[in-house]
Symmetry: C2
Subunit: 355 residues, 2 copies
C-alpha cells in the first residue's frame, strides 16, 4: 500500500500534536488536583504551540513506515515516541536559551526571560527566572521519558528504543558541553563539525528515523541506512540554520541576526572564515565576534569578511554536497517509494527552507 499511497505528513503532525496536548492537559489537571502550579504545564503547552516544524516527530513516523509500520496498525506507541521527541526538543531549547541568555524563542520571550519578568524588579529575578526555566526544562525531559515509558512496546523493541534514545540524549549533552566550555580552536572546522554532529545532526535526523524504525522492530540494515542518510541531512540542516542566523533568508522571511555572532558560536561558517581570512581580517573577526555589545555595524563588517573570504559560499557548498549525498543514498536504498518521497520532501524543507 505504501508503494502507491503517500505518507500524509500533515495528518501525522496533527496526531502528534494531539498526543502532546492531551498529555500536557493531563499534567495541568493533575497539578491543580495536588495544589501544585499548573503553570509549568501551561508554559510547555505555550512553548509547543508557538511553533516548531515537528520535523523530528515526522521523521520518527517516516522511520516507522520504512521498517514496516503502516496503515491499519495501532499507532499509539509510535505517536508517543514521536511526541516524546518534541518534548525533548523543548527541553533542549529552553536550557539552550538559559545558557545563551537568548531574549526570544519562536517570536516570544524565552522561558527564563518570561519568568524573570514575572518575578518583578528584584536583584534576584535574573537568577530565579533562570532557575525556574531550568526546572521547566527538566520537567520537559522527565515528561519526554514518561511518554516513552508508557508506550506499549515488546521487551525487545523497548530495549532498542531506550538504547537509541539514551544515546541521543547523551550525544546532545556532550555536544552542548563541548560548545559551552569552548573546547577546540575557533578556526577548527572539524571541531565545529563535531559539535554540529553531536549537538544537533544526529538528534535531528538520524536518531528520530532510527527510533521510529526500532518501534517497528527494524533490523540493523535499516538502522545503518538511517545513519548514512541522517548524518549528511542533519549536518546540512544545522549548517543551513547557522547561515540563516547570520545572513537571514533569501526571501527576507528570516532577518539576519546578531545571536550567534554575539554568542561567538563555534560554527562551521565562522571557522571557515577564520581559516581563509588574512591576518588583518582574522584580527577583526576575533575582535568583533563573541561580544555582547556587537552592533549592526560590527555585524555588517563580519558578514562582509565572511563573504570576501568565500566562507559563505563554501558553507553553501557544504550544504549542497550533503543534500546530494542524501539523494544518492535514497536512490540506492530499497526503501518503499512513499518513504523515499517523504524523506526527499523533508530533506528539501530542512536544507532549502527560506524561513
Amino acid at each position: 500500500m505504501l508503494d502507491v499511497r503517500e505518507i500524509d505528513l500533515s495528518a501525522v503532525r496533527e496526531q502528534v500534536d494531539t498526543v502532546l496536548e492531551d498529555f500536557i492537559e493531563d499534567k495541568a489537571r493533575a497539578a491543580v488536583g495536588r495544589k501544585l502550579p499548573p503553570e509549568v504545564a501551561g508554559t510547555l503547552r505555550d512553548f509547543l504551540t508557538a511553533g516548531g516544524k515537528r520535523i523530528r516527530a515526522l521523521l520518527c513516523v517516516v522511520g516507522w513506515h520504512a521498517a514496516g509500520g503502516g496503515e491499519g496498525e495501532d499507532r499509539t506507541a509510535i505517536l508517543r515516541v514521536a511526541a516524546s521527541l518534541e518534548l525533548f526538543v523543548a527541553f533542549a531549547l529552553i536550557h539552550d536559551d538559559i545558557m545563551d541568555d537568548s531574549a526570544t524563542r519562536r517570536g516570544r520571550p524565552a522561558v527564563h526571560r518570561a519568568l524573570r519578568t514575572r518575578l518583578g524588579p528584584s536583584p534576584r529575578a535574573e537568577r530565579l527566572g533562570a532557575g525556574g526555566a531550568l526546572l521547566v526544562g527538566n520537567l520537559a525531559l522527565i515528561w519526554a521519558q514518561e511518554l516513552l515509558h508508557t508506550a506499549e512496546l515488546s521487551v525487545q523493541r523497548r530495549r532498542a528504543v531506550h538504547a537509541l534514545y539514551d544515546a541521543m540524549l547523551e550525544e546532545v549533552m556532550y555536544g552542548q558541553y563541548v560548545d559551552v566550555m569552548g573546547i577546540g580552536a575557533d578556526d577548527d572546522i572539524d571541531a565545529a563539525l563535531q559539535i554540529v554532529r553531536c549537538k544537533t545532526a544526529t538528534a535531528t535526523v538520524e536518531r528520530p528515523l532510527q527510533l521510529g524504525a526500532a518501534v517497528a522492530g527494524a533490523d540493523d540494515t535499516t538502522l545503518g541506512l538511517f545513519t548514512e542518510l541522517g548524518l549528511p541531512l542533519g549536518e546540512a540542516f544545522q549548517i543551513r540554520d547557522d547561515l540563516l542566523d547570520v545572513f537571514g533568508s533569501a526571501d527576507g522571511a528570516c532577518a539576519p541576526g546578531l545571536g550567534d555572532l554575539r554568542e561567538g558560536k563555534h560554527t562551521v561558517l565562522l571557522a571557515r572564515g577564520l581559516r581563509a581570512a588574512t591576518a588583518a581580517q582574522r584580527r577583526r573577526l576575533r575582535h568583533l565576534v563573541g561580544r555582547d555589545d556587537l552592533d549592526e555595524r560590527g555585524a555588517a563588517e563580519v558578514r562582509a569578511i565572511l563573504e570576501e573570504t568565500g566562507a559563505r559560499e563554501h558553507t553553501e557548498h557544504m550544504i549542497t554536497s550533503r543534500y546530494e549525498q542524501v539523494l544518492r543514498v535514497l536512490e540506492a536504498s530499497a526503501l518503499p517509494p512513499a518513504v523515499s518521497r517523504a524523506l526527499h520532501g523533508l530533506a528539501v524543507t530542512a536544507t532549502r527552507y527560506t524561513s
Copy 2:
C-alpha cells in the same frame, strides 16, 4: 532468614558504589573512544566519591527486602535501581547549587564554581560555568534513567518502577519550582511543609522504599505502608537538615551556616519564626533574611529571634513527633524484624545525626 540475620547495609553501600563506579568508568572510556570530553564522567565520579550517605540507595534495597527480595537472589537489577537514585541525587544537587549559586558542596567547590574557575578570568565565565554544570547535571539525570532502562525487570515490574520513578522526578521538580518562584507567603508553615514534602521528603524516603519494593513485585499494601512511613521520616529528615544549616549540630561537627538564611529559603523553621514573632521581630527577620550580604552578626540576630520566639524548639518537636510516628508505624507493621531494625537504624541516622 531475614528474621534472624541483619541486613548488612555497609555491604549494600559498597555494592551500590561499585555499580556506580563501573557505570561511570564505562562512560569515561566510551567518551575517550569518541573524542568526547571524559571530564564530564570524571566530574560526576568526583562528586559521588566526595561524600553522601547513600541513604536513598540503602532505603531502596531495604524496601526490596521488605517485599521479599533477599539472600541468594540475583541483585543486579535492584542494585542498578538503587545506584540510579544516587545519580538522580547528584543531578538534583548540581542543579540546586547552580540555582542557589552555592559556593561549596561536600567540602569542595560546587560544580558550576569549579567550571567557572577553569574557564579563567572572562566576563562570561560565570554564565558558561553555570551552563557547563547544567549539562553535567542533565547527564546525571539521563544516566540515572539509563541505569533504570538497562535493569532487567519483568514487564509488570518495569512498569511499576517507571511509574514511581517518574512520579518522584516530577514531585521534586515541582517542589523546587514552587521554592524558586516563591509561591506562598513566607510565614505560611503549610506552604513550607508542602515544599519539604515535594522537594525532598518523598524522594528521600517514600519513593526509594517503594522503588525497591516494586523491583521485588510488591503489592499495594507494602507500597501504602511505605507512604505511611516515608512521609514522616522524610519530613523529619529535611526539617533536621534545615535546623542544621542554621544552628549547626550539637557536637559541633556541622557549623552553623549562612546558606539558607542568605538564600531566604522558605523553611518551616523560618515560617514558624515569622508566625510567632512580634511585629518588631518580624520586621528584623524580613530585613535580614534573604540578603546576599547577610553577615555573622546579622545571622546571630536571626538565630536569637528564632530561639526567643520558640521557633527552634517547636521545629525540634516537629522532628520528634514525626520520629515517634515512624516508630508507631514500624511497630504496627508486619515487616520482617530485620527490615524493621534496618529502618529504625536509618530513621535514627536521618533525624538525629549530628553532622
